[in-house]
Amino acid sequence: MPRHVSFFSPRHPEKKEARGPAPKSGTRPRLTQSHYPLLSLTLRSKPSREGIDSFLSVMAMATSTFSPRPASRTAPLKPLQAGAKPHLHLSFPRLRAGRLARAAAGEAPVEVVEAPPKEAEPSPAASNGAAVKAEAPAKAVEAAPPLPRFRDERWVNGTWDLRQFEKGGVVDWDAVIDAEARRRKWLEDCPEATNTDEAVVFDTSIIPWWAWMKRFHLPEAEKLNGRAAMVGFFMAYFVDSLTGVGLVDQMGNFFCKTLLFVAVAGVLLIRKNEDLDSLKKIIDETTFYDKQWQATWQDDSPPAAPK
């Protein structure tokens, strides 16, 4: 089944064509946008790919047999999301609404679902290394109730099975990037115990450099080039109107060339408002540790009479 994924094709949720095979009834209700307009805000729009439907229905069936999740999680959304993919879509209102819906559903932090073993309160700063006796001399490390583990059909033996990402004979790297982002997000929200039998060995460097370029660098580069061009144009116009020096003559002038350099550097370094502060912080940070070490030499008055 050819899946059409174009980097720049607009993905409008309204343009969703009818799904292929009908979902297995009796399992997860298929939440289409028309039925649940509010919930649809929390779903990322389904990419217009045909083969995804059968996959989704299989996932829905598989996930419906999951162990019961803690009630605090947004249960209806999770299974459906299991197969759907995030993608590069600049629909900010949808994302914000998605977060709100999640918060509204009372997504609890991880600690709630655990039953932490009880220990005595340590007194850390009282003395060097206070050894605190536990209230009971020996306590078992209680097993916490099982958390939902990350499961994905394509995640096999601790890495992504690239054959399952193939699309027309070639691996769809965008899908791999999406899948990995989703996995990391899942694990960040819901950390899992490591397992030596299912050790994770995935390395992002297997995704070729051009896939990263195409996906992340090019749009950013386009944006920055656009900014540089606009700034450059207006600077050239401004200088011309002030001094009467035309564009060609400006390029021969050292000061104007400096201005150009500053404009380009500024566009590269300062991309958001916060960048100005973070640049200053970074400059402070690089020398802070050195200053802490030099502190003992600062008041280096000649060793006259000792105290």
Binding site: P116, G129, R184, W186, P191, A193, T194, D203, A295, P303
Partner: protein, 457 residues
């Protein structure tokens, strides 16, 4: 910097045998011999070492060996300190530690990223290389015993305060609570004695530092649980230590599972979010859940770890060494070796500055120890600081960090610099490749992070 260049032509009678770096020691002797007064009545220099950990033990031993009359004050002789307990290979050789001091030889480390990507480190280790895991009470006791047999007097007591000398070369008066085991556990009697110099080796909450107004430092809290796990699970940790990184485990440090003699130590630490340490500990336990399941917690402990040196490390003839001075590296939180080494270097500077205990020392002699220590180890500290700043700042950076650790060259460089405490410049071509790979990893991890923000689960 102190005037090491004042090389005076020495009459041969003043030339002491070189200690440490030979040329510098001779210059030290030159300066001391030239200016500081000989001690009256031919008595030897008296130095009090406050604190009997690795720093104090090493300092007392080096002082006693150098001919200085040394008193080592330690408040708890069997103190079982909460500590990772990892010592590098160079410590075993430099301090002539007997091999039975090392409980376990860790040859494999596992680094685990926030998304559980696990990387095994240790492939590049030679068969004779390892990270030694020791029990602090055993190590500290051994060093103190050695100091005693070198001639130091080991006293069981709690340092209270000291009085500054009244005139230029006058003595310091050290007040302490003397504990006598024959009296039982009654609160000790107050005693005092006079010394010419004080070495503060009393750890992160140093009283000597407070007395001399050394200033404060930022510190991390390290929280650790000792867990006795079943034998078959212990096999996994036979030669293996684990490091977990992630926001859930610690926002600015790492969680660990280190094997000890017959149990494992599971712990974590933080500088900025000390109030949440229990949460981080629970998260660490969760990440290692399957591997420590069925274990019993036999001990819970916590201790402060300094993040940087105190603003003032010497004042008059009082100086600080070890954790009291704040010599703990960033990123890895290693302190035992630097404590012992700084104790030894300080003692050697005192011995040299006093011409083996025959002359009075001055603040400048103590500053020589500071200068030498800073010169030797500043690159190590700075590199680790940069690593911490770059790789511990976010989950994305930690993922990149773990990815980088999979590289053989990185492992070799890391272990070389850790085990032998030298920053070895590698092959420049490999360095460039490493730089490119690092940037690549960071860029990829950051790009994935931005994707992650768009994902709503």
């Amino acid at each position: 910097m102190t005037s090491l260049s004042s090389a005076v032509a020495l009459p041969s009678s003043c030339r002491a045998r070189p200690v440490g770096c030979s040329r510098r020691a001779r210059l030290l002797v030159a300066r001391a011999a030239a200016s500081s007064p000989k001690l009256p009545d031919g008595r030897r220099l008296r130095v009090a070492v406050v604190g009997g950990g690795p720093a104090g033990g090493a300092a007392a031993e080096a002082l006693a060996k150098g001919g200085v009359e040394t008193v080592l004050i330690e408040r708890k002789m069997d103190n079982c300190k909460p500590c990772g307990g990892a010592i590098p290979l160079c410590m075993v050789s430099e301090f002539d530690l007997p091999l039975d001091l090392v409980d376990r030889k860790v040859r494999k480390m596992k680094m685990i990223s926030p998304s559980n990507v696990a990387v095994d480190i240790g492939r590049t280790l030679a068969p004779h290389e390892y990270i030694g895991m020791v029990r602090r009470e055993v190590l500290d006791d051994y060093l103190r015993t050695r100091a005693k047999s070198a001639g130091a007097e080991v006293v069981n007591g709690l340092f209270l305060r000291y009085e500054a000398p009244k005139e230029k070369n006058g003595p310091y008066v050290v007040h302490y609570n003397h504990y006598d085991s024959s009296n039982g556990k009654v609160g000790g009697e107050k005693r005092s004695f006079e010394v010419d110099a004080i070495v503060g080796a009393d750890g992160a909450n140093s009283r000597v530092a407070k007395e001399m107004g050394a200033g404060d430092y930022e510190y991390a809290i390290a929280f650790q649980e000792r867990v006795k796990i079943p034998d078959e699970k212990m096999l996994y940790y036979e030669e293996r230590a684990e490091m977990y990184v992630g926001d859930d485990v610690s926002p600015d440090f790492y969680g660990w599972v280190f094997p000890k003699c017959d149990h494992v130590a599971v712990g974590t630490g933080t500088v900025t979010h000390k109030a949440d340490i229990k949460k981080f500990q629970a998260a660490t336990r969760l990440r290692a859940k399957d591997k420590i399941e069925g274990g019993k917690i036999i001990r819970v402990e916590a201790h402060p770890i300094p993040e940087h040196p105190r603003p003032k490390r010497v004042s008059g003839r009082v100086t600080l060494v070890g954790d009291a001075a704040g010599y703990v590296t960033k990123c890895s939180g290693e302190g035992i070796y630097f404590a012992a080494k700084s104790g030894r270097m300080c003692a050697e500077a005192i011995v040299a500055g006093s011409a083996s205990g025959t002359r009075m020392v001055e603040e400048s002699d103590l500053r020589k120890y500071l200068a030498e220590f800073d010169r030797l180890y500043w690159p190590t500290y700075k590199v680790l600081d940069v690593l911490q700043k770059v790789f511990y700042r976010s989950n994305a950076a930690r993922e990149a960090f773990v990815e980088m650790c999979a590289d053989d060259y990185v492992q070799k460089m890391t272990f070389d610099s850790y085990l032998y405490k030298r920053v070895v410049p590698g092959n420049p071509l490999d360095d460039i490749k490493l730089a490119v790979n690092t940037i690549g990893s960071l860029v990829r991890a950051t790009a994935l992070r931005r994707e992650m923000e768009k994902v709503t689960l």
